[in-house]
């Protein structure tokens, strides 16, 4: 039961500065590291792993300062992008590698239960090049656990996996978190993964922490286009899109309620009934069935909005050019561009 404390951690690469980052990682908890490409997610992970020397700050494991420890002394299960499987070793000898390093002469036998648990025992004699993406992820995860880590760092799992393998691995991941009782930090671009496995989100923007807190908080208050889209708002309107629009139009109405970086909202429901009154009028551009109803892309003023009908999948799909009406409640709007409202907010520079 190890807790990690990251205080004021900063690092400098050639043209990039990370931090300061403050974090507390508790056993059994998972943190999703989010952010656009180049936000510093991988750099933060590699700094925690000991591959990037920090320029400031401290990393403590149960109070002991390990900021200067080499990677091999940190007791990590680090799964880098691309997984880092040893191409010249079989699956079982990849998983047994950390045990072999500790002088376990029967390492291969000792990892057998781990192979069984991750469903990779039948692949024991294969080489990494002979594995599918999902199988390789399982091997990497099993190997990280074989090291008996005190912290699991996982960079971009799910990359290149098909939906079935993703779902499958999500279950394995959850099981791992419950069983291993160590903190997990996972870098991801995938909202479904982040929401399904992480208790906390850490959003990085240009190397700085923009949000640190519970996913529900971010959902309630996304602060920029990226976070709004990430947590699932399908209508994200930037200020440029809201420029223009005659008084009394939806565009003007939204502009009045938007933040400095625009506004976000979920899919408004169509008002049922032919020629229904009230709300705003839109022209259908495209529509497709989904399990939750019919998703519609429609035009209002110069805006393209995502709308929906909570109809059964078998309902008829409105044709393009069809006029529809919908209501939008001001309480459902999320103004963007305000400071993050997480546990350690940073007011924007």
């Amino acid at each position: 039961m190890t807790a990690w404390e990251v205080a004021g951690l900063a690092a400098r690469l050639e043209s990039f500065a990370l931090g300061p980052v403050d974090l507390t990682l508790r056993p059994g908890r998972a943190v999703a590291l989010l952010g656009t490409s180049g936000a510093g997610k991988t750099t933060l992970l590699r700094t925690l792993a000991g591959f990037v020397p920090p320029s400031a700050g401290r990393i403590r494991r149960d109070g002991a300062d390990i900021t200067g420890s080499p990677p091999e002394a940190r007791r990590l299960g680090y799964v880098p992008q691309g997984l880092g499987l040893l191409p010249h070793r079989t699956v079982e000898r990849n998983v047994s590698y950390p045990l072999e390093l500790r002088g376990d002469v029967e390492a291969v036998r000792h990892v057998r239960p781990l192979l069984e648990r991750f469903g990779i025992a039948p692949l024991a004699r294969r080489r990494p090049a002979q594995l599918s993406g999902g199988e390789a992820e399982r091997v990497a995860l099993a190997r990280a656990l074989a090291a008996d880590p005190e912290l699991v760092l996982w960079d971009e799992p799910w990359q290149g996996l098909d939906v079935a393998a993703q779902h499958d691995l999500g279950l394995v991941f959850t099981e791992l978190r419950e069983a291993a009782q160590v903190p997990v930090v996972v870098v991801t671009h995938d909202p479904a993964l982040a929401f399904s496995v992480a208790d906390q989100f850490l959003v990085l923007h240009q190397g700085r922490v923009r949000f640190w807190g519970a996913p529900a908080k971010l959902l309630a208050a996304p602060f920029d286009g990226f976070t709004a889209r990430f947590v699932g708002y399908e209508n994200v309107l930037e200020p440029a899109a809201l420029a223009g629009g005659a008084p009394g139009s939806l565009t003007a109405w939204l502009r009045e309620r938007a933040g400095p970086d625009g506004v976000a909202f979920g899919r408004p429901l169509l008002t049922p009934g032919e020629g229904a009154a009230g709300g705003w009028e839109a022209v259908v551009r495209a529509a497709r069935p989904t399990p939750e109803g019919i998703a519609i892309s429609a035009r209002v003023d110069t805006l393209t909005l995502a709308l929906r009908i909570p109809a059964p999948v078998t309902a008829s799909i409105p044709a393009a050019g069809h006029r529809v009406r919908f209501d939008l409640d001001a309480a459902d709007l999320r103004p963007l561009g305000l400071a993050a409202r997480g546990g350690s907010p940073e007011t924007g520079a």
């Binding site: 000991g50 080499p70 091999e72 680090y78 880098p80 880092g84 499987l85 010249h88 590698y97 950390p98």
Partner: protein
């Protein structure tokens, strides 16, 4: 399944579909003509050597103790050169692959230099370096590595001209390793030395061996520098055989003295040995003695 076949229109169904990726015939013909010309250039001189020598002379050369001594010296010296490449060239390749430092491109150019310098110049340079009476001359004699007309002279020239191939191959081989694989190994508990032994070295081994083979091939074929530094080789150091010269120098001498038949026979014998060595490597690849798959090492 069989029942359904008659229902297909047989003529069309069985017509082979030509792969759209396959090159047209004229293009293929061009490749065969151009590539074949080069192969002929490789093969015809070898044929000429064997034809000139004839089996009787080759057999005579094979049983001639003077030729045997030259072959032994050449294989022995080139073997030492390959060992030297393992000890000195592999670490340099590793350094070039892994470290960024000032003057790196200068070092890389220096490594490439022996490949482009005419080898007579190499011999001259080494000659002036250890010219009799110089401090280095006295030093090498004092520590038991006399250079002139000894196997050490041969080895020195061989290492000079052939070690770069191992440096370059090791550099490429270490560079080709995904750094994330190494990072994963480090985070799993491997210290730098352990990561080298369990990850870098096994993964680079194939490339290094390929470089060592090139080094060996270049070493045995060297003549320019050896003509100057060790024209005749006297016993001394690890070489205890009769007074002789390397095979390349022996063939050159035979040719110079007008002994064309023996020159051809000795050359043929050498070609047979080289061919046999490459054949053994191929068989090794096929039977899995070696840590790489067939066709990965030699083209």
């Amino acid at each position: 399944m069989g029942d359904t076949v008659p229902h297909l229109s047989p003529g069309r169904a069985s017509a082979p579909v030509r792969s759209p990726l396959r090159a047209g015939r004229p293009w293929l013909a061009l490749q065969i003509v151009l590539g074949g010309s080069l192969l002929l250039l490789f093969l015809l001189p070898i044929y000429a050597l064997f034809a000139w020598a004839g089996p009787t002379r080759i057999l005579a050369a094979a049983t001639n103790p003077a030729v045997g001594a030259a072959i032994w010296l050449t294989l022995f010296a080139s073997g030492i050169a390959v060992l030297a490449a393992v000890v000195f060239a592999v670490p340099l390749g590793y350094l070039l692959a892994r470290r960024r430092f000032r003057g790196r491109s200068v070092v890389e150019s220096v490594v490439a230099l022996p490949v482009v310098v005419p080898h007579l110049l190499v011999g001259l340079g080494l000659f002036f370096l250890v010219i009799p009476g110089s401090p280095l001359f006295r030093f090498t004699n004092a520590i038991g590595f006399p250079i002139y007309d000894t196997i050490w002279g041969v080895v020195l020239v061989m290492v000079f001209v052939s070690a770069p191939y191992t440096v370059l191959a090791a550099d490429l081989a270490f560079r080709a390793i995904d750094p994330r694989v190494l990072e994963a190994a480090r985070s799993l508990g491997a210290g730098p030395a352990n990561a080298f032994l369990t990850v870098s070295f096994p993964l680079a081994l194939r490339g290094i061996v390929a470089g060592l083979l090139l080094t060996w091939a270049r070493a045995v074929s060297e003549i320019g520098g050896i003509l100057i530094l060790a024209y005749t080789v006297y016993p001394g150091g690890p070489y205890t055989g009769p007074v002789t010269s390397t095979l390349s120098v022996l063939v050159y001498n035979l040719f110079q003295s007008g002994d064309l038949g023996d020159a051809a026979a000795t050359s043929s014998l050498f070609l047979l040995i080289a061919f046999a060595i490459f054949l053994v490597i191929r068989i090794g690849e096929r039977s899995g003695w070696v840590p790489w798959r067939r066709g990965e090492l030699l083209p």
